[in-house]
């Protein structure tokens, strides 16, 4: 069988017995790749799906590629999905996911693997060394304790990989540390590339909540705490180097669609529109949230990306960091920095710190607000109710950032109390009131959002609530960023509100095609069936196209695109839509909607796992402050603009600050959502009818045996 797009086999790592076994990819083919395959593998190989802490030995962590990885599909070739039970959430650490970019998934595919299933626990630290078919377990005694950057460079040294560039071709069979056992003759396979290494730092070694997996300088799987999962398995790093390739079903169509993307949907370099409204079609502009430190830099991109969102500089810091990690510390630096240059330097060096420790800075954005609040209230600090010897008086300095991240990563100082999670620490400290007042803004499942408050941005909030963690899914929220930025900086509105929703609705098949009201976030529509359909669309779309096919969250979907005369973006298009690329690579002939249906199947499998972990609709709530307080302080702008209809049915962009969610109405909305999904609205559990419609009767059997199968509506 020829596997177009697939390597054809998946690597199972038995950490307990230090064994590597290859299994066939074919039985998992119907799940697409990435998250879908990972969920299916978790279902098959996790023997205890009731576990609620990812550090449990029974946890299974899957690191998965997609058929599109290692190909030129724009902004899809370099992503990698991680799934398993997470760490540090509240009240339950759900089966969850994360995702990172760079070179790892490409190299894993070229080494001949569609993914890695990590099971069991090693009795001492190890690192895994994959060279095509050869898989070696090495002791990691000399790596344990090193940060993520030092770890990767030490592994390169162990493999005799040259620093820098201009390296000779390297024969894989000439690499050191080889083991003849089981090694297939590679016929002098050669590469000029460095191994791709995914590893943990101190935060992972200490099994700290929110510990990340880091690859290269700045690619991180931060959400979910998978660094702690690896730490619990004594897995320091996986290095992979491959010399093979991936067969593509229709290379001509793939090449043509890629060129169409560049030449039709992306800003023209000769007559550049620097303010284009599009996702896939912008020019490469780093997403750092500070002033640019220097113009002596390049854009830096994941494999196959069409517009890199990061930079490498000549200044020796900040390389490959972007977006949230470049401003987790920003509000405090701003208070002490003498000028813009110092502000940038401290922020980017603080980004380097979290990259090296392997700690997800996402949690710090609202988390540090809370800690500072406790310090200013005289509750936290030296000799206080919550003792901390950190130099809180110097918050904003690089020294404080280093000490804080060290404490959180090594479970020292306040890191000891935060070791099980932030909401858990609040309860331990007797600060439950902070969940009600909003002093601790962790919106759902013991984790925060990062600027997209559920009281304003409905699809983000509802999607997170019905899922497993902060959704961190940017399908629609560029409406907020683009429109709010236009208002804030006096830029022209490139697309009016009515045209915006109309263009979106054209592409919202199957649930909301030509139903622009799904994007009406006004008070009158915020608990509606229409909004529930939008949330369904986003979850199903993402579970397949973003989490399984691994289209980049920051570039896809492309609903609107001002580079095209009719403003219709690439998403779902017949010339360069997601399904065009999928079919060209795999040889499938799916429609755009059929991809979303695969996503629905994956979403249902995920929900079945959550149910086995203990989920019931009675525990599906936002944090109390979402209901009790109004949204009045934006992280990014002092207003939150979105598409709304007024009393006359006219569309406009409207500020959504100043409202809260109504608990009872959210409960009603949940019932609507469950019914639309075909789940039991009393429990939120999947029903047999729904599961069997998707050929998942075996999942229904398991739920029934556990006494957790939803009842079909009579």
């Amino acid at each position: 069988m020829t596997y177009h797009g697939y390597a054809g086999k998946i690597l199972r790592l038995d950490m307990t017995n230090r064994k590597a076994v290859a299994i066939d990819t074919a039985p998992y083919r119907r799940w697409g790749g990435g998250h879908g395959m990972g969920s299916a593998l978790f279902w098959d190989f996790c023997t205890d799906k009731t576990i609620t802490d990812g550090r449990h030995p029974a946890n299974v962590c899957c690191v998965m590629t997609s058929p599109l990885c290692g190909t030129i599909v724009p902004s899809a070739g370099g992503r990698c999905e991680v799934v398993g039970v997470g760490v540090g959430q509240y009240p339950v650490s759900w089966f969850t996911r994360s995702n990172f970019g760079g070179r790892f998934s490409t190299m894993l595919k070229y080494a001949g693997w569609d993914g890695i299933v990590i099971e069991g626990t090693a009795d001492e630290p190890v690192w895994i060394d994959i060279r095509n078919d050869q898989v070696l377990f090495h002791t990691a005694d000399d790596l344990w304790g090193k940060d993520t950057w030092a770890t990767q460079q030490e592994i390169r040294k162990l493999l005799h990989i040259k620093r820098g560039t201009q390296a000779h071709w390297q024969n894989l069979d000439a690499l050191p540390l080889a083991d003849d056992r089981g090694y297939a003759e590679q016929q002098s396979d050669r590469t000029t590339q460095k191994p791709a290494i995914l590893c943990i730092g101190p935060a992972g070694e200490y099994q700290t909540p929110h510990a990340a997996l880091i690859h290269d300088a700045g690619n991180g799987a931060g959400q979910g705490g998978f660094g702690a999962v690896w730490g619990s398995k004594n897995l320091k790093a996986i290095s992979v180097i491959g010399t093979g390739g991936i067969k593509v079903h229709d290379p001509k169509t793939l090449l043509r669609a890629r060129m169409i993307t560049k030449e039709k949907y992306v800003v023209n370099w000769q007559t550049p529109d620097f303010h284009a409204w599009t996702r896939v079609g912008n020019l490469p502009k780093p997403l750092i949230q500070t002033a640019m430190p220097t113009d002596e830099r390049r854009p830096q991109a994941c494999q196959g990306c069409i517009n890199g969102c990061r930079s490498r500089y000549n200044i020796g810091y900040g390389n490959e960091s972007a977006c949230q990690e470049t401003f987790w510390y920003g509000p405090y630096v701003r208070k002490i920095a003498k000028n813009s240059a110092e502000d940038t330097e401290i922020n980017l060096k603080s980004a380097d710190i979290v990259q090296k420790y392997g700690l997800n800075s996402f949690v710090l954005q609202p988390g540090l607000h809370w800690l500072e609040h406790l310090y200013e209230e005289g509750i936290l600090g030296p000799g206080r109710q919550i003792p901390s010897e950190l130099p809180w008086q110097s918050i904003g300095t690089l020294d404080f950032a280093e000490k804080l991240i060290h404490a959180l990563s090594t479970k020292t100082d306040i890191g000891a109390d935060l070791a099980e999670g932030w909401v858990q620490a609040a309860l331990k400290w007797g600060r439950e009131e902070d969940l009600h007042t909003g002093a601790l803004q962790f919106s759902y499942w013991g984790v925060p959002e990062h600027g997209y408050d559920p009281r304003a941005e409905l699809e983000w909030g509802y999607g997170s609530l019905m899922g497993d963690r902060d959704t961190n899914t940017h399908c629609f929220n560029y409406i907020f960023t683009n429109v709010s930025a236009a208002f804030a900086f006096g830029k022209p509105l490139r697309i009016g509100a009515e045209q915006m929703v109309t263009l979106h609705a054209k592409k919202l098949s199957p649930y909301a095609k030509d139903r622009p009201e799904v994007l009406d976030y006004s008070d009158a529509n915020m608990y509606s069936e229409a909004v529930a359909q939008l949330v369904r669309w986003q979850q199903h779309y993402c579970r397949f196209y973003k989490n399984s096919a691994l289209f980049c969250d920051l570039k896809w979907p492309d609903f609107v695109n001002t580079n095209v005369s009719n403003f219709e973006g690439a998403t779902g298009s017949l010339d360069a839509g997601e399904q065009v690329f999928w079919n060209a690579v795999t040889g499938d002939a799916i429609s755009f909607e059929e991809g979303i249906e695969i996503g629905r199947r994956i979403w249902n499998l995920d929900n079945a796992i959550w149910v086995l972990q203990g989920r019931h609709r009675d525990m599906v709530h936002f944090a109390p402050y979402i209901y009790k307080t109004i949204y009045k302080k934006g992280e990014i702008f002092p207003f939150f603009m979105w598409t709304c209809r007024d009393d006359n049915g006219n569309w406009r962009y409207q500020d959504l600050m100043g409202r809260s969610l109504d608990r009872e109405k959210v409960e009603e909305w949940k019932s609507i959502f469950y019914q639309l999904e075909g789940w039991d609205s009393k429990t939120g559990w999947p029903t047999r009818t729904t599961l069997e419609q998707m050929e998942m009767g075996y999942v229904a059997d398991t739920l029934e045996a556990a006494g957790k199968l939803g009842e079909d509506a009579s």
Partner: protein
């Protein structure tokens, strides 16, 4: 301007000759003395130029190159090799290794296959230096003779043959014409236009003569230097 040069032999050793002869099957291999006979070598009518300071390291050119030529995405089968070190600083973090279509191409002169060399300037494709996979005997001499690091010749481990950049002349998986005068897929797909094609032969003695500055006013407005 057209130039015609003489190819000087590499002086194949007796050991190399015996090894390659035994591996060659029906191919005809000339002894070293005959390889020393000069032959004419017209200049290539096309060259790739790159901007090392501009490349975003996405590898799209590599994957597209392999795809257009071989129907599969691969680093190892790519005629252009992009190397990057995530822990180095700009501009030393990226290197773009392109075939230079050398004036006196050592990979051509060392090719031992006769009467028609497997590696030769192809008059049908603007004298691009091309390896005929049907003639290549897999002796690997062109790999080792290329003076640049990394070698601009790739080894196809499955076919057990050498391959090199042909300016996209032989691209069965590209639905446009390649080669000099046609499309070079690496340049076409590059998201930041860090690769370009020229008909002017760059200076042959200078290691950096194939590096050029492709950063324009748009680049400057994106906040990156054009120097």
């Amino acid at each position: 301007m057209k130039h015609t040069k003489h190819i000087e032999s590499s002086g194949i050793t007796r050991r190399q000759f015996l090894v390659t002869s035994s591996a060659a099957g029906a191919a005809l291999i000339l002894p070293g003395s005959l390889l020393a006979i000069p032959v004419s070598m017209p200049d290539s009518e096309g060259y790739l130029l790159v901007d090392l300071k501009k490349c975003q390291g996405c590898g799209t050119c590599m994957m597209a190159c392999a795809l257009a030529h071989s129907g599969e995405a691969s680093y190892s089968l790519s005629r252009i090799q992009i190397q990057q070190d995530s822990f180095a600083n700009w501009p030393d973090d990226v290197f773009m290794a392109i075939c230079r279509q050398c004036e006196d191409a050592p990979c051509v002169s060392v090719c031992p296959v006769r009467p028609v060399r497997a590696n030769k300037p192809n008059p049908d494709w603007g004298y691009a230096r091309m390896i005929d996979q049907n003639l290549c005997i897999g002796c690997k001499q062109c790999l080792t003779r290329c003076p640049f690091t990394p070698s601009r010749i790739q080894w196809d481990a499955l076919q057990q043959k050498s391959q090199k950049c042909d300016l996209c002349a032989n691209t069965p998986y590209l639905d446009e014409q390649g080669g000099p005068g046609g499309v070079q897929v690496c340049a076409r797909v590059c998201p930041v236009n860090a690769i370009t094609f020229t008909t002017e032969m760059p200076e042959q003695g200078a290691p950096s003569s194939y590096n050029t500055n492709l950063r324009d006013s748009a680049w400057l407005k994106l906040g990156m230097t054009t120097k």
